[in-house]
Symmetry: C2
Subunit: 295 residues, 2 copies
């Protein structure tokens, strides 16, 4: 295996399996027809056809409309059709929106985001130490009781961006909860770009944009987990992290992309690597167009 | 104006104006029909139709075939149809080639590359200094007698990758010629990624991939130009360089992309900028597909 295998694994998506989910005529997500079918008992809220699903309660305003959708999802949870809520909301925005005009069109519980196939945003932190022996990176091992990727390796701190928090607020929150990094230190984190991917999952469609940060930590800093998400932290030479990413599936899937981007930006993975240009363009794919449903 | 205007200026391309240039059935470039017309007097070398141009001398081997094409171009130069050769060769490779298998299919003088619309590769160096007052960047002003972009601002060192030189050989050559940077210092340059763009030009189609490097220079290093390409060097605070890129057309067109990439990687341009994600994906576009020519 190699670096590109991880990028491919994160981009295992077949647009033909989805129909558009629209709000006020704008596409905000991609839905599987079997999930669309579940929404048919609420025709006052959802217009469901084989061509797509349109949200109808938009005149009610963001809060009221989101509450009604949430009510439907709660009933589907009660019926055993869906798993439980996560307890944090993501904002659905138009896929084609100019970024200045990305106003939220619907708030959806994070666990339901893939059902509606909305784009989600996250933040991942490369925690690094310049030691006498060279550059090292902090890596965490996820707790064994996590729902997603138990026991796998992870970036020092990472998390989805819930509705209502700014990027810097959420960064401070995640860095504190997952690694005990105090806020003054978090503020020295440097934003260094973003990676994206589009993946079909059991629930539907996961389309993530991960903002990446490099955070240089003092040699005597030791992370500690506050929220039970991490069972152990490691401080490894970059070369070791690089080998683990290239040769194993130890890391949580999307963390591989964040570290590959790091390796490229810091010259560990250079233009002499045959996959260099391919990796560069594959780390940030745009949303693939949906084929029109004919007939 | 703003950062995105420079990216748009570098990607002013209309694929409908071009027909494919193929070698052994593989697309290696995009040609304007008026240039294809010029090749019709050599039917033993070029098959020219309204659907595309195919090179026919491929059985002769790379050197002999390239020499014959070069002979044709010399005649067109003598007839006044084309400007002079540059004197360095670029290698034409298949657009769809897996990168490991990018063997050269034809060598073309650099000045003729846009006529055939082949992909070209270059290297650009961000020369930076960490001083007590913060991060600074060396910027050069191109000599007034340059054919391209006379008097405009440029990266400290930059150049196309000619056939026959490795990336590190060419980097050392360009850094020495353009800025007098000795080789031991050049070897500390860090490869940090690449930007790409596709642009229609007076001659045809310019499709460039620029490998980017950050080179940290000692505070007492002063660049000096060896080849007459530069009239003056400046060491400016990053904020000043950033403003110049954002608010002016002072820089040679493609240098803007290299510096925008630098600003993103170093946190000067962050996710709070409305154009952030748009810039990230626009800095590395893939080659746009050619519409089939109908009829």
């Amino acid at each position: 295996m190699g670096f590109m295998d991880h990028v491919a694994a994160c981009n295992d998506h077949d647009a033909r399996r989805f129909i558009p989910f629209t709000i006020r005529g704008r596409m905000v997500g991609r839905m599987r027809p079997d999930f669309a079918e579940l929404l048919k008992p609420w025709p006052e809220l959802f217009s469901v056809t084989r061509h797509g699903v349109a949200l109808k309660c938009t005149d009610a305003g963001l809060a009221a409309c989101s509450a009604r959708v949430s009510g439907v999802l709660e009933q589907l949870i009660a019926q055993g059709e869906l798993g439980p809520f996560h307890g944090e909301c993501y904002a659905a925005v138009a896929e084609d929106g100019a970024e200045g005009g990305k106003e939220p069109l619907l708030l959806i519980d994070r666990a339901m985001a893939p059902c509606f196939g909305i784009r989600a945003y996250g933040q991942h932190v490369n925690g690094i130490v310049w030691s006498r022996e060279g550059l090292k990176m902090w890596v965490s091992r996820r707790a064994d009781d996590r729902q997603h990727y138990p026991g796998r390796l992870d970036n020092l701190a990472a998390g989805g961006l819930p509705y209502g928090l700014t990027l810097s607020e959420n960064l401070a929150k995640e860095c504190w909860e997952e690694a005990g990094i105090p806020e003054p230190l978090v503020r020295t984190a440097v934003s260094v770009g973003a990676v994206s991917y589009h993946m079909d999952t059991e629930k539907g469609f996961k389309s993530d944009i991960l903002y990446c940060y490099d955070l240089e930590l003092p040699e005597d800093f030791v992370p500690s987990c506050m929220d039970g998400e991490v069972q152990e932290f490691y401080l490894w030479p970059l070369e070791q992290v690089m080998e683990l990413v290239r040769d194993s599936r130890e890391f949580k899937l999307n963390c591989n992309l964040v570290i590959i981007d790091f390796l490229i930006r810091h010259g560990y993975l250079g233009p002499d690597d045959a996959s260099y240009l391919g990796l560069l363009s594959a780390l940030r794919p745009g949303l693939p167009p949906l084929d029109p449903v004919c007939g």
